[in-house]
């Protein structure tokens, strides 16, 4: 189980990207439909957010199942989430805006959903950079503090999704509800730990 989980997850996380690439390059008559730029944007953003939430599921799952080795897949999931979100951002910058710097700056400043989406992405960059063993060692306890940025990033990511739907909030509501559950679990754990200070150092 332990041996197969990581390769299996790697394969699973690569599939949506491979599928999008096949559609983008027209492999076997596949395509991205009438509006390929928006299709890429939506699918990349959707998988980025899903994988970000999946990353946040690792700690609760490891704790509830009492399988600390599960923590080993957290970095991979997080880096996959970052990959999809970076491509989502690049798709916006290049194919959607064609490096139109004035329009991009105006959008980031004026459009709240872009402001929060862009902020969420910026928050994730240092997390991706410091995800290596070397950086973990160098930062020590500060590494954990830094990586708490994943929480505001996930919150802003969910808001980014919610604020761009025109009327149908059902899908963003599912993501927001999942995030709320994951955050609630962490709040409860923090309370329990402060009630029993001797356990406060347990794994993270």
């Amino acid at each position: 189980m332990r041996r197969f989980l990581e390769p299996a997850l790697f394969l699973f996380c690569s599939l949506p990207l491979a599928w999008l690439a096949a559609r983008a390059f027209g492999v076997a008559g596949l395509g991205l439909g009438a509006n390929p730029v928006d299709e890429l944007m939506d699918r990349l953003g959707e998988w980025g957010l899903r994988l970000l939430l999946a990353t946040l599921c690792v700690t609760p799952l490891a704790a509830m199942l009492r399988k600390p080795w599960l923590m080993g897949v957290r970095r991979m999931l997080g880096l996959f989430a970052f990959t999809y979100l970076a491509l989502h951002f690049l798709n916006w910058l290049v194919l959607d805006q064609w490096f139109d710097v004035t329009a991009i700056a105006a959008d980031i400043a004026k459009r709240p959903y872009i402001t929060v989406g862009f902020t969420a992405f910026v928050l994730l960059v240092p997390l991706a950079v410091t995800s290596t063993a070397g950086w973990m060692r160098r930062l020590g306890r500060r590494w954990h503090a830094l990586h708490r940025l994943v929480y505001p990033a996930a919150i802003l990511g969910c808001i980014h999704f919610w604020w761009q739907v025109k009327a149908d909030w059902r899908e963003p509501a599912v993501y927001a509800a999942a995030l709320l559950l994951l955050l609630a679990w962490r709040v409860r754990r923090a309370r329990q730990r402060s009630a029993r200070p001797s356990l406060a150092r347990a794994a993270g």
Partner: protein, 312 residues
């Protein structure tokens, strides 16, 4: 999602979707208890008789039948732009009737055939600009709404025209959840409704409208955002007061009554200055949006003296 995207063939080479759907209907009918009435109808109505109105048509490259019929908004079938094509199959646009009501001398409920009978059909190639900042060029087949309204003799109190879409949650899965306050309603000022560019469309690419594009009867107002062009109309009511409109009810600060295409007035959440033309592939920079969607010369006069920022 798994739509084939073979290099775009010329429109003339494409087998229109409803044609092969009709073939299936016919075969299903033959295989069952003989030819069904609906299948015969479908056969009979395949091709519409119409003339081309070159004067009021764009000379631009038209979007393919596939693009127009697989990528559009019709929330009655679902909120994804593939949903109307995917989930529109159960909808039955025949038989159909339309109620004419309100401030008119002639009123009542009429069959679609009676509604259409006196009107010669013409093809108009119009730009369509969605409020979501994408656009298409579409060959509609229809006739001027003004010609229809005249037949019912609006009274002097008729200042607005209100439209209503059919309410059939059993055939329109999107209506089973209150994304909008169903049924969909729209409205025009009388002078907008009487403008020669405003048409009621019954066809697309020379054939009857597919379900997903608003069969059997829809409005097309080319200088306004697409959501004004209400689909599958069952009621036309002449009114003295401005009628309620669905998107305005849903988000009044985002969607006004007029909804004229205007690059200078942004949607509160996104810019309307540019649009993406559907059909040019992945490497397709946005192009500037034109005031009144390029129809300013014909329609700007309707709004003379009005503050278009306030009346968005």
């Amino acid at each position: 999602m798994k739509r084939p995207n073979i290099p775009t063939p010329a429109p003339s080479e494409i087998t229109p979707r409803e044609r092969y759907l009709n073939r299936r209907e016919v075969m299903a009918g033959l295989a069952g208890a003989g030819l069904s009435g609906w299948a015969l109808d479908a056969l009979a109505s395949e091709r519409l008789k119409f003339t081309k109105n070159a004067r009021l048509s764009l000379a631009e490259v038209q979007n393919s039948h596939e693009e127009i019929t697989t990528y559009n908004n019709f929330y009655e079938f679902g909120t994804d732009k593939g949903d109307p094509a995917r989930l529109g199959g159960k909808f039955r646009p025949k038989p159909w009737s339309v109620t004419i009501a309100g401030e008119a001398e002639v009123k009542g409920t009429f069959t679609l055939e009676d509604i259409l009978k006196p009107h010669p059909l013409e093809e108009r190639v119009y730009r369509l600009r969605c409020v979501e900042a994408w656009s298409m060029v579409i060959p509609w087949v229809g006739f001027p709404l003004g010609e229809l309204l005249k037949r019912f003799r609006p009274t002097s109190r008729a200042k607005y025209v209100a439209f209503k879409t059919v309410l059939r949650p059993e055939e329109m899965p999107g209506q089973r959840f209150p994304v909008l306050d169903w049924p969909y309603v729209e409205g025009l000022r009388m002078d907008e409704a009487m403008h020669p560019l405003t048409i009621l469309a019954v066809g697309l690419y020379g054939e009857a409208l597919p379900n997903q594009n608003g069969a059997p009867l829809r409005l097309v107002v080319p200088w306004k955002y697409g959501f004004k062009s209400i689909k599958s109309i069952v009621e036309i009511r002449l009114t003295e007061k401005p009628p309620p409109t669905s998107w305005n009810l849903s988000a009044p600060h985002e969607y006004g009554f007029y909804a004229n295409v205007n690059p200078a007035v942004d949607h509160p959440r996104w810019s309307q200055a540019k649009e993406r033309k559907i059909g040019a592939g992945l490497f397709n920079p946005r192009v500037p949006t034109l005031p009144f969607n390029g129809y300013a010369e014909q329609v700007a006069g309707l709004y003379r003296g009005m503050d278009l920022r306030k009346n968005f």
